[in-house]
Symmetry: none
DNA sequence: GTGCGTACCAAATGTAAAATGGTTCGTCTC
DNA sequence: GAGACGAACCATTTTACATTTGGTACGCAC
């Protein structure tokens, strides 16, 4: 913070400072940034300059703004609260991962067909931010932003809505989801490599490779989650048992 | 309003009057009934009697109530229906198939792990009924039932909800375009073989084979659908074009 | 023209009051 | 004692209003 583009105009200086603020991660867990008026006061420049800087960062995919709400790092959620509420009491973490394994690989495959060069740039930026996250909260913020952008790029309203439902349920279930992922932060390097493989496949317009890379990524996440749950002694859901059950389970009665 | 069950008690009289009110249809467009307190005053009886009458009518499915909201004639809308309505104007047939290619193969894979012998028997029955269907509308009925059962067997609430959304959108779209696949004798045989392959894989507890078989089935449906659309001169969506677009499209400018 | 401040608009939030269905209790009448 | 009626209270939802926040336009200074 010694020299913030000394010879630049105020807009560029504000841009660099806000970008540094995002990279550093001194933000609440929801990624909220100070208001434009606060930023203009803190950075000692006018609100117009702050807004120009925010426009750039929004175009890069690093943050999103909403009138009346605020400015947030990452990518926005589109909550499907009504539908999520109807199933909230029946979901567990592994059911969420099973659903993600269906929706997200297909989204990645469609990205490979429809992503623009700018989309790929945004994806790479988000992956970099996840890689450089200082703690698990920020990693989840940027990982979530990356997956959300992948869900938006194909412009398929149904798959997008399905992802929104997933995202909402995941948010409601976050108290344990988050906790377990935090335990496996050591594998962050692995996650970054997988992110890059996904984005590379999208960039190369290889739909099958993108689908496979996303499947691989989600499988790793699932395995880590399951391992963490086992270590902490949590009860295994039916999903876990079924996977390792042989044919005899086929004779189980209906509940 | 001459004689409302002369010798009945107040509860029965209130029941008849409210039922008549609903049948007559003198209600606002949203079907809202007067509040319980208003009804008790209008009908000249106590609120308890009104509530008992409403309980009966609610059990009959003629109305539904919600605390803090009100009492409404008809049945409450399902969340999936609402969500489907919000995206109905943005969907096309190919977007539906893209979404199905994500959700249903995963559901088939999960079926391979969790289906009981009874489930497999039901699946085979539905496949046979589809195969024996005399016309295409009838075939769609049984085919839909087969896919719905596959969606319900894994007992994954999120994927099930996603399929529910999909199915609702699909029915709306089919109804709007009055679309039915031109089904030759050959295609019907092909579909039946694919159904059997899916069910055989589920029966053999081979998740990967079930996923692949479902993907193959949906791909065939998509191809037939696209061919049918081409013959009837429907415009191709962006999805169609993108699939055959080479890398140069990647450089297209932002709008 | 750039920078800066002010004012205002539109959208979202937070809060409090009112409305509404859900529930319990007491009293009356037959 | 059973049924009817009223009153009171609770939980949920809606409504209205003030506040916050991003979005936009205008005026002034250098």
């Amino acid at each position: 913070m010694t020299s913030d583009g000394d010879f630049s105009d105020n807009t560029t200086r504000a841009l660099n400072q806000i970008r540094r603020m995002i990279e550093k991660g001194n933000l609440p867990s929801d990624g909220r940034l100070p208001t434009e008026r606060e930023l203009s006061e803190k950075l000692g420049c006018g609100r117009r300059q702050v807004r120009r800087a925010l426009e750039v960062l929004e175009a890069e995919g690093l943050l999103w703004r909403r009138q009346g709400k605020g400015t947030f790092a990452g990518q926005p959620r589109r909550p499907a609260t009504e539908m999520a509420a109807t199933i909230a009491d029946k979901v567990d973490t592994l059911a969420i991962m099973e659903a993600r394994m269906g929706v997200e690989p297909q989204l990645a495959a469609l990205c490979a067909r429809r992503a623009t060069a700018e989309d790929v740039d945004r994806l790479r930026l988000l992956a970099e931010r996840a890689h450089g996250a200082s703690d698990s909260d920020y990693w989840e913020l940027w990982d979530g932003a990356l997956h959300r952008l992948i869900a938006r790029i194909p412009d398929n309203p149904i798959l997008s809505a399905a992802f929104d439902l997933l995202d909402t349920v995941r948010m409601d279930e976050n108290w344990q989801h988050d906790r377990h992922l935090a335990r496996t932060l050591k594998t962050k390097v692995v996650y970054h490599e997988q992110h890059q493989r996904i984005i590379d496949a999208i960039d190369a317009r290889d739909a099958d490779a993108a689908r496979a890379a996303m499947t691989d990524h989600l499988q790793t996440l699932t395995d880590d989650l399951r391992r963490s749950m086992r270590e902490t002694g949590e009860v295994h859901s039916f999903a876990t048992e079924a996977r390792i059950t042989d044919k005899t389970s086929k004779r189980r009665l209906k509940k």
